[in-house]
Symmetry: C2
Subunit: 143 residues, 2 copies
Amino acid sequence: MLDLDKIDPYLLRPVGFVRSKLKRRKDCPKQGYEGAPDAWVEVDSDFAEGLDGITPGSKVILVTWFHKATRNVLKLHPRDNKDKPLRGVFVTRSPDRPNPVGLHRVEILQIDRPERIQVRPLEALDGTPIIDIKPILKNSLDA
Amino acid sequence: MLDLDKIDPYLLRPVGFVRSKLKRRKDCPKQGYEGAPDAWVEVDSDFAEGLDGITPGSKVILVTWFHKATRNVLKLHPRDNKDKPLRGVFVTRSPDRPNPVGLHRVEILQIDRPERIQVRPLEALDGTPIIDIKPILKNSLDA
């Protein structure tokens, strides 16, 4: 396995990919709770051991990398609505941003093989790289 | 400014850095709500425009990159407690993980200059790179 401590310190390595019926960016709801479908998360076998202990029914944060995003964006119209005034990108949840990290609160529906997990709801495109998976802590509202 | 759409697609570019009294990893609480101090977020002037519209009192998610983390970790004892059984890293919030992304729900206390923001609580080390800032959406529990 690639030694992650020896690559460029700012280089991401996807740990898996989204498998979804959402094939085009325009088909994706802007947020998961806006009618996003179930989807599968396929974790690379190199990282499957990192899922040890994960359980159906639990809620996790998927951290994705919006690989289709435009990164040279600092101001935009929220929700692509030209009637809304331009805002700084860090005051929006647009996927177009300098580091296009996506956060998705999802429920784990089932675990098919150790490294293949069904989740919902997920508004990310098919093929979106996953860079991290985190549990939601009971004592915290964060995600 | 560097054209972010022309660099390696998986390369992060920090948009700012944490300024904190927490100077050593062992001084850092494991979570913000475990007594973490106020801290400052200094956004690089190249990205300051992205903060346009941010307001004191609002709550945001800081997305950091734990630059001191070890990335070749797939299983560990939660909270560094050897009495707890080994778990997959994706079932923990350890900073040591393949892509050491940190999520921090913080309140914005004040905006000093357009690009210098005081927040609380923040358990991240002084010098930690910030890779994104996101608003918390009213309709969502995610972060």
